[in-house]
Each structure stands twice: as C-alpha cells, then as structure tokens.
Amino acid sequence: MSIAVADRPGTAATAARFSPRWISDRLSKVVLHVAVIGLTAAWIVPTAGILVTSFRPFSKISTSGWWTALAPSFSFTVDNYSKVLSSSNLGQSFFNSFMISIPGTIIPIAIAAFAAYAFSWMKFWGRDWIFLGIVGVLAIPLQLSFVPVLSFFVAHGITSSNLSWAPFLPVWLAHTGYGLPFSIYLLANFFRALPSDLFESAEIDGAGTLTVFFRIVLPLSVPALASLVIFQFLWIWNDLLVALIYVGGAPEVAPLTVTLANLTNSLGQGYHLLTAAAFFSMLIPLIVFLSLQRYFVRGILAGSVKG
C-alpha cells in the first residue's frame, strides 16, 4: 500500500524539483489559488461596494466610483446613517422586525416539536399519508393562500390597523401556518434518527410520554432546534411578501424589509441614503449568520426544500 501511494503520479513528493512534472504541479496549484481567490473576490464586490459607499460623503458618491475611496486620501463619514435614521422610520421598523420575527419563530417551532414527535414515534391511523401531505405542502406557493386568508382576517377584524394592542397578530398567525410544514419536516427527520433503544429503556423505567419528550428528546435535539430557530428567524426577518400582505406599509407597523423597499421607490436619486439603509437592514442577519453559521449550514443540509 505504501508503495502504491509513493508511486502515485502527480504528487509533488515523487516529482523531482524543477522537473517538468514538478513545474506543472506548481503551476496548476497557482492557477487553483488564483481561481479560488478571484471568484471569492468577485463575489464580495457587491457587498463591499455598498458597505464602502454607505460611509462616503454624498459629494464623492455622485462624482466617483466607490472603489476610488479605497485609495488615499480617505474621506469617510457616518452622515448617511444619521440622516437616513432620522428622516425615515427605519428605527421603528427595526423594532417592528423583532416584534414580527420573535413570535413568528417561537410559535411554529413549539407547535411543530410536538407534531414532529408524534409523526416520528407514535403510531396512528394515516400517519404516513399525513406526513407525505406535509412534505407536499412544502412546495405549494404561499401565493395560493393570500386571498382567502386575508379576506377571512378582514371579515373578522383581525387586521393590524384594527388591533392596536397586537397589530402583528395576523402576521404571527400567518408565519405560524407557513412555517409549520418545514419545521415539522426538519424536526421529524431529526427525531426519527434518534436510537429506538433510548425510548424502550425509558419506557421500561416507567417514564411517561411527556417525560420521554421533555427529558430525552428535547435535550438531544438542541442542535436541530437551534438550526431551525436561526433559519425561521432569518426567513421571517428577511421576508417581504408575507409582511406586505398581512402588515402593509404603514410606518408604525412596517418591518425593515418593507420600509427599505418603500425607500427604494421614494428616494430614487438619493442613493447615498439607500446604501446606508440597506446595510442597516443587514446588520442583524449578518450578526446572526457570522456568530451561528455552523447551525445555519446544518439547517440547510437537514432540509433543503423550504419555499
């Protein structure tokens, strides 16, 4: 075996220094690194451009490209941020986004955890067919549900303008319904992979269903729950369509995505302000992403069918 490895063609170990093979190996390494770094650099240009622009004074933005700011003499300012935060309702929207995202994350996941446990470890009539139905619903466009749900909400007074004590109730309910299929799917996949001995020995010890669920299943599922929480939170934080439909654009209730979309239309030429607003809206997702990337990636790998 060791001979086979040593004889492997194309490794630097066997090629003598400065032989043609050694040179071609080195060259292909260089090409590889250039390609990797070049592609990555190209990928971060759009984000870098908007970040740099958001800190440039207006007079410079309109007269030179953002890349010129990277060379001396440097002139950066936070004017764009202070202006856009004081002249628009971005600050309020920032809170609204939290008001929408936190319950919109907690409620569906709490409901889904119980359902997913039943789907994975209880036997009941039609279980597999119902679960198959849940998988099917994952692909259904949300658009299909807007008209009937909205007219039901309007007919029964469940609208954000009507409910001053809970203006976000409609969107919480909607995100609960829309978030459930994916949450159930992801959690059930995880629960089912738990070893069945665990449940058998717990039952022999006389533990009831509730004890098994709260003391064994939930603690073991913390990684899956963490990825799901991050996923659902970012999905709602970044959502525009559901927010537009159920909350609308009124300044007191609009989340960041809706406010930013409105600014895009109203600012027009005021691009220097828009870049600051866009970066402001990206703050929380970027913090969540950079600190919890591991869980985020795991969530994506566990269920890649979210719509």
Binding site: A4, P9, V36, L39, T40, W43, I44, T47, G49, T53, S64, G65, W66, W67, Q92, F95, P103, I107, A110, I111, F114, A115, F119, F124, R127, D128, L132, V137, A139, I140, P141, Q143, L144, S145, F146, V147, P148, V149, L173, Y178, L180, P181, I184, L234, L240, T257, L260, A261, T264, L274, T275, A278, P285, L286, V288, F289, Q293, I300, S304, V305
Partner: protein, 332 residues
C-alpha cells in the same frame, strides 16, 4: 419613533406572546396527557397522537390547505363572487404572446432555466475548487454570506451595481465601469433595457443563492469515498476525467435535490423583481403579477387564476419531490 406606545402596548404584548404562547401549548399537551391517562389502556395510543399533531394540522389546514382550495374556487369567480367559469383564465392566458400573464410566464421560464442552471453550475464549480484549498471554510462563508441578507437588500445592492450614466459620463456603477473602463464598450441601462434586464435581475438572484447550492453540494462532495478518487487517479485519469466520470455521477442525486429546490425558488421569485423594477420594463413574474392584481386592481379572481397557474407549474416538481421522499423512506 413613538416610544410611549411602544413601551406601553407593544412590548407587553410581545412579552405576553413569547412567554404565554409556549406556556399555553405546553399546558395543552400536559392537560391532554392528564386526560389521556384517565382513558382505558386500549384507547390511549389511538387518542394521544391526535392531541400532539392536532394544533399543527389545524394551522396547516387553516393557512395552506383550505385557502388553496378556496383559491381554486375563487379563480372561477368574479371579484364579487359570481361564477364565471374560465373567464379569469381566459383573460390571463388569452393574448398570446404579450398580453395577460404571458410576459410573466415567459420571464418565469427564463428564471426557471437560467437561475437553476447557473446556480447549479456555480455551486458545483465553487464546491469542487474550494475542496482543494486549505482556507476552504473562509472562502465558503464569504460566498455564503449573501444568503443571510434579505432579497430587498440584495435588490438595493444590485441596483447600485447596475447604476447607469449616459455614455461619455463617468460610470459610478461597478458593472458599467468595468464595461466602459476595461472592455471599452458602451454602458448598458441594465435595469430598464428589456433586452438585458431579465438577465441582470436573474444574475443578481444567482449571486444571492449560489452559497446555498455550494454548501449542500460541498457536503455531498465530502461524502465521496477518498479511495474511489485515489483509485481513478492511480489508473491515470486526469482531474477533468475524474470529475466527469466519478465525482459528477456520484453527486447527481444531490444535484437533483438542489435543482428541484431551485426550480421552486425560481417559480416563486418575487422580492428581487419587486425591489429592482416592480415588474416594469417587461420584467414581471407570476408572483409579482398576482400581488399587483390583488392590491392595485382589486381583481381577486384574476389574482387567484395567476396563483393557480403558479400551482400548475409547481405540481410536477411536487410529484417528483414526493416520489423522491417515498424512495428514501423505502430505503430506511
């Protein structure tokens, strides 16, 4: 912002919701369990599961299944609720090739093909290249980062990338600056010019989602046994042959899964179009058309018909997904 109303009404509501709702759900399960214990032994296993799945089934039925059926019904009615047969569909699908919903359908086809293919191609190339360098995790998270930002922010970022000034003037948008500065060609009005704007918008969306494909494909790549690749190389296969004959076929199932997910994303495309053009300049897509019909025209019948067209496009993917799911289940 109005701090007074925030502190006195909204914040308390939020606290009540994030503490109260989980408490109610747990209370419901505990109380249900208490009642189930009172039942005779034989009845317990048939009652308990329904208590556990009940709330979830209620929400899925109330927000997805029943509304979908009602939308199917609404697509056959006028906005006042009178039955009109297929009139709504005829209005949306009548004037081929440029009236009704046809522009949106054409653009959704562009999205379906170009978005899916480019994301898969980029995802695959990046996954394979990054697998060979030691700083893999760093470059991966940089490519993946756009996944964390909203499509609205993405739209703003790319509007800025595609910024246009008339020829002869200084181009401050990155894409046109490269065109005029490095390639010495005329700048393009990327967002308004109907010849290129769909591709420009799809390009922006591809940039945002490639990290998603890359991460999944990269995980599949790492799952290929190293001996297999080694054996192919010992037999004298070049890197390209190894990729074509060994890596790609073994990754095919994952490529298919990612591909179907991307097809669904492409069909539901909305945010990027809404922010970058609002569906103007021939860039409309079905989801945006439906939103406009619903909100600006108040045409619920037309909106429902567009939603049904969207559903019809998704159904093949849905059936395919279900088959895949059952095949995987059968192997368990």
């Amino acid at each position: 912002m109005n701090w007074g109303s925030f502190l006195t009404t909204q914040l308390p509501t939020l606290l009540v919701v994030i503490v109260g709702v989980p408490a109610v759900i747990v209370g419901y399960i505990v109380a249900g369990e208490f009642l189930v214990r009172r039942l005779p032994d034989a009845a317990r296993p048939s009652v308990r599961p329904w208590l556990w799945v009940g709330p979830a089934l209620f929400f899925v039925a109330a927000f997805l299944v029943v509304p979908a059926i009602l939308t199917a019904k609404a697509s056959l009615e006028t906005s006042k609720g009178d039955f009109t047969g297929l009139t709504n569909y005829a209005r949306q699908l009548g004037d081929f090739p440029s009236g009704g919903a046809w522009i949106a359908i054409r653009n959704n086809v562009y999205w379906l093909v170009l978005y899916t293919l480019f994301v898969l191609a980029f995802g695959l190339i990046l996954a394979v290249l990054f697998d060979r360098v030691r700083y893999e995790s760093l470059v991966k998270s940089l490519i993946f980062m756009p996944m964390a930002i909203s499509s609205v922010a993405l739209g703003v970022i790319w509007k800025f990338m595609y910024w246009y000034q008339p020829p002869g003037q200084l181009q401050t948008g990155t894409v046109n600056a490269i065109l005029t500065g490095l390639l010495r060609t005329d700048p393009r009005i990327w967002i308004q010019d109907p010849k290129v704007n769909n591709f420009a918008i799809i390009g922006a969306a591809v940039w945002g989602i490639t990290g998603f494909a890359m991460v999944i494909l990269s995980a599949a790549l790492k799952g290929i046994p190293a001996d297999l690749l080694e054996a192919a190389r010992v037999d004298g296969a070049g890197e390209l042959t190894v990729f074509r004959r060994v890596i790609f076929p073994l990754m095919m199932p994952t490529v298919v899964v990612v591909g179907t997910t991307l097809v669904i994303f492409a069909l539901k495309a909305f945010d990027v179009v809404y922010v970058m053009t609002g569906g103007n300049y021939d860039t409309d897509v079905l989801a945006n058309r439906m939103y406009k019909l619903l909100y600006f025209s108040g045409n619920t019948g037309g909106a429902a018909a567009v939603a049904m067209i969207l559903l019809a496009a998704v159904i093949p993917v849905l059936i395919f997904n279900l088959r895949q799911f059952r095949a995987v289940e059968a192997r368990r």
